[in-house]
């Protein structure tokens, strides 16, 4: 029978076990299920396959996808083609980690607990904050949770959000806020960055938080200094969404008075995986520790005084607070957080800086090459590892055409903004080379219609 490979009990075992329960047959175990809702026939699914056949099916399906393994990937916008070193996969594929449950029983979960504590420590250091949780689903739900937390802290109902925040994250935030009476006001995105003056003018007594992302969706670094100053003059909390790979060279959000820092950690040692699992993170100040959603690990001692770790502040969590909870998160992205912890240990202090400089340099090279051929950046401002360029032709069509050259050319901005249908967001990880960039530039020059060519 199919599936028997995972089922250790023989027919003889089953009979013996059933007999021990006092049941005459299996159906005796179903007496509490009304006859009318017991299935009469079998599920209409295809018959079970052997492991080889199932693997072949999945290999065939995997082969239909345009993976960054076979294509040169310039796509970013929230998911990035960074290299994942072998040590990450090696550690994350240890069954001791991946077949364990949530570490509720600390005495036999120290491996998971300590690695979460180390994750929290590294996220706190990256963001410059004092406290981090054990992870959230992704950068979008982290942003939504950050906003809910800020509204809960301030007991206000208005959110001012930069129009330059990743639109997928904004979309999720709006969905999450649907259950309340929150008012969301978005700033303009016309210039590609958030105008501090506009933020300042929008804040009023009802404002619970201001949300900014830097680098933002267009790749541009925001003037967090000026925005932070405007927010700090009010009672609103400052929520900042960051790309962690930028934080080797860019100042942490704490430097600008951020109260809550959230972000997408996929770039830290996690594959793109068609968008999931990703890794949401959240960090804040000690003052708001008791308002943080999700799990937190703390250091303590055992009965012999030996240092060890356990889940702490569980009274914040949904399973205790139940209907009084402000977040419902339970299962999160622990294994992805482990990958990030191993990756950040691998990268280290110098590696993070070098990674940042490398991405910055590759992006700057591409921008220079494009500009010299008449394809200047769509927006003014300093960018980190991605930027938007106007092609003069439909960017979605261009991306399709580039597939013939085995290039994933970028994210067409028309997917999100109808007025930017000719704009393409191009991203650069350390994997990209000059030759690959030259090929993309040449393709843009050949097929694009912008700049001097037009």
């Amino acid at each position: 029978m199919s599936g028997a490979c995972y089922l250790p009990n023989t027919d003889a075992d089953r009979k013996e076990m059933l007999r021990a329960t006092g049941a005459a047959g299996f159906d005796d175990l179903l007496v509490d299920i009304p006859e009318a809702v017991r299935m009469k026939g079998a599920l209409a699914l295809e018959p079970g396959l052997s492991e080889y056949e199932a693997r072949q099916r999945l290999c065939r399906l995997a082969g239909l996808n345009a993976s960054a393994d076979n294509y040169t990937c310039f796509m970013g916008g929230g998911s990035y083609d960074h290299y994942v070193p072998s040590i990450v996969g090696e550690i994350a594929s240890r069954p001791e980690f991946y077949t364990a449950y949530t570490p509720y029983q600390a005495e036999i979960s120290q491996g998971t607990l300590q690695s979460i504590y180390e994750f929290q420590s590294l996220i706190a250091r990256l963001t410059g904050m004092e406290v981090s949780n054990a992870s959230l689903y992704d950068g979008a739900t982290a942003l939504a949770e950050g906003v809910l937390m800020a509204l809960s802290v301030t007991r206000k109902r208005k959110v001012i959000v930069s129009g330059c925040v990743n639109p997928a994250r904004l979309g999720v935030m709006n969905t999450y806020l649907e259950g309340g009476d929150t008012v969301v006001v978005a700033t303009g995105r016309e210039s590609g960055t958030t105008r501090p003056g506009e933020v300042a003018s929008l804040i009023d007594d009802e404002t619970g938080c201001v949300v900014v992302e830097s680098p933002n969706f267009f790749g541009l670094v925001e003037d967090l200094e000026a925005i932070g100053r405007a927010v700090k003059e009010t009672k609103a909390l400052f929520v900042v969404s960051v790309d962690p790979t930028s934080l080797g060279i860019l100042a942490p959000p704490s430097a600008f008075g951020a109260d809550i820092v959230v972000g997408e950690g996929q770039a830290l040692g996690n594959h793109m995986n068609y968008g999931g699992p990703n890794l949401g993170f959240m960090a804040t100040t000690a003052k708001y520790m008791r308002k943080v959603p999700g799990r937190i690990v703390g250091k303590t001692v055992d009965a012999d005084g030996k240092p060890c770790f356990c889940l702490t502040l569980q009274t914040r969590e949904q399973h205790i607070r139940r209907e009084r909870a402000t977040s419902n998160i339970c299962t999160n992205q622990a294994l992805n957080a482990l990958c990030a912890t191993v990756y950040l240990s691998w990268l280290g202090e110098e590696g993070l800086k070098e990674l940042g400089r490398t991405c910055l340099s590759l992006a700057a090279y591409a921008a220079r090459e494009l500009e010299s051929r008449g394809f200047g950046p769509r927006f003014d401002g300093a960018f980190f590892k991605e930027f938007v360029v106007d092609l003069g032709v439909d960017a979605g069509e261009f991306v399709l055409a580039a597939l013939d050259e085995k290039i994933l050319a970028g994210v067409p901005m028309g997917m999100f903004y109808p007025d930017l249908e000719n704009s393409l967001l191009i991203s650069f990880t350390e994997k990209r080379t000059r030759a690959e960039i030259d090929a993309l530039v040449s393709l843009i020059v050949r097929t694009g219609g912008g700049g001097k060519k037009a």
Binding site: M1, G3, N9, T21, G22, F26, D32, P34, A36, M39, L45, G48, A54, R55, L61, G63, A68, M75, G78, I87, S93, F97, T99, Q105, I108, T112, A124, Y137, D138, G139, V172, N174, T175, G179, D223, L250, A251, E264, H271, M272, Y274, G275, G276, K299, A303, C310, L313, Q318, R324, A325, T331, N332, A334, L335, S345, L352, G356, L360, S361, A364
Partner: protein
């Protein structure tokens, strides 16, 4: 390894594990690009270590964990079953791992096929009409479902206020209801541990948006009156949401869609054998009946003329609930599992899960109180209350089980059983494993009689002794 020593403790300037390609373009100085105020001053404070030290550090940490590949893990409502290894290999195929989420649909046909086809299979398994694969975990599915309930009632022209939740519910249920903006109203279980239609009736009015039911419930009991309950809720215009965390008990046996459920979430990291990862990533697809299809989150995955596509233009959708499409790599594992199990295999999974749970309950019945007896489904709840006289609590029994090499059951849940031990063996445990576990519990019950102090002091043979959780909360150290 010295206990509690971190990578940061092992850091020494000048050590490095990383290698990065040297870019063949001019290196740019960040100071030439960004204003000085936006540049980082001083170090981040990341560890500086070599790769061998990383390997040793995390391998040493890993062996401190209990895990399914090591031994029995009978956490109730968590369905800690074996995770097939082929799932790792297939989800690790470069065609999946290296796939960017915004490639044109035509370049992601394999990935879309996995999500769509698994979705159709899950609809068949649950008896529902359509599904979203986007929720990243069970609680995320609950929130998605509750937001759909909201959208449904808004479309009916009148928003409602309350969601009924039995007192045996998972803690996430009331929390999800609260986040969705509803008031949760606790409904007591009947004397047999099940929902009693007569008890529900007084709670029903046109302000009830939905009832949220776990079936089988957290006592491991099938809600025998489910058809009557769903009929009553529908009569007042409410919807029926089922928490499908315990669906392992029902595979090929009974389908939520057939007993009147409107929305059900599944936990792929429970029922469909994907690993729990030490606390995630999971996946919590939400299946719905036809009248709720317009409200499913975007993007919506469809199949037209043999091609799969994502569509965004869905006016009545609740919107996005994940940056992209959920935990895709988890769905690859679940798809592989369903492909291999087939209809007979899945039915056998449920049968063996039920046989295992009832067998273990029978073996322990003489020594432990089972407050809600009879037949159970995939799990049952014992009580450690009778050992109170010896000064031993359920938590002590849990800790003592570790000395015998087992992970304890879920403890102190559900809340309606005092000193609860919630035991879910799953179908991937042999009779031998169940016998050994029962023997250990019986030995512990004897130790409680002869040497209660020993049980209260447990564990002794674990990587660390009993952990001071109160101390952790008192002197908070949550980051180094």
């Amino acid at each position: 390894m010295i206990p509690g020593t971190t990578m940061l403790d092992k850091s020494k300037p000048g050590k490095r594990a990383y290698t990065l390609p040297t870019p063949d373009v001019e290196m740019v100085d960040p100071a030439a690009v960004f204003p000085p105020g936006l540049l980082r001053e001083g170090p981040v404070g990341l560890p500086e270590v070599s790769e061998p030290e990383i390997a040793r550090h995390f391998v040493n940490l890993s062996v401190l964990n209990h895990h399914v590949d090591k031994d029995f893990y009978p956490l109730g409502s968590c369905t800690m079953k074996y995770n097939p290894k082929v799932g790792n290999d297939t989800s690790g195929l470069p065609g999946f791992t290296g796939l960017h989420p915004m490639v044109p649909d035509r370049m992601a046909q394999g990935a879309l096929a996995v999500m769509y086809e698994l979705g159709r299979e899950l609809c068949e398994i649950t008896g529902m009409d359509d599904i979203t694969m986007a929720p990243a975990a069970g609680a995320h599915g609950e929130l998605t479902g509750m937001l759909m309930v909201r959208a449904y009632h808004a479309a009916q022209g009148k928003q409602r206020k309350k969601v009924l939740i039995p007192d045996s519910a998972h803690g996430t249920n009331p929390a999800s209801v609260a986040v969705a903006g509803y008031e949760s109203v606790e409904v007591p279980s009947g004397p047999d541990g099940r929902i009693d239609p007569e008890v529900i009736k007084p709670f029903l009015d046109d302000d009830v948006a939905a009832i949220m039911i776990t079936n089988p419930n957290t006592l491991g009991l099938f809600e025998t009156h489910i058809c009557e309950v769903t009929r009553l809720v529908h009569e007042v215009g409410g919807l029926v949401y089922m928490d499908g965390a315990n669906m392992n008990a029902l595979l090929g046996i009974s389908r939520p869609g057939d007993f009147g459920v409107d929305i059900v979430h599944l936990n792929l990291h429970k029922t469909f054998s994907t690993p729990h990862g030490g606390g995630g990533p999971g996946s919590g697809p939400v299946a719905v009946k036809e009248h709720l299809m317009p409200f499913l989150p975007v993007p919506y995955i469809s199949k037209e003329g043999g091609a799969y596509r994502l569509s965004w233009d869905r006016e009545r959708s609740i919107g996005r609930i994940h940056t992209f499409y959920g935990n895709f790599a988890v769905t690859v594992r679940a798809y592989c599992y369903v492909l291999m199990m087939g209809p007979d295999g899945l039915r056998r999974v449920a049968e063996d899960a039920l046989i295992g749970a009832n067998y273990l309950m029978a073996k322990l019945g003489g020594r432990f109180d089972i407050p809600y007896g009879g037949v159970c489904k995939h799990e049952f709840v014992a009580s450690g209350k009778k050992f109170a006289g010896k000064g031993v609590r359920t938590n002590d029994i849990a800790k003592r089980l570790m000395d015998y090499g087992f992970h304890p059951p879920t403890v102190y849940f559900p809340l309606i059983v005092e000193e609860a031990l919630m035991i879910e063996p799953t179908e991937t445990e042999s009779k031998h494993a169940l016998d050994s576990f029962a023997e250990a519990l019986i030995m512990i019950s004897e130790e409680i009689e002869s040497d209660p102090e020993k049980v209260r002091g447990a564990p002794y043979n674990t990587p660390v002794r009993r952990v001071d959780e109160a101390g952790a909360a008192r002197s908070l150290d949550v980051a180094q």
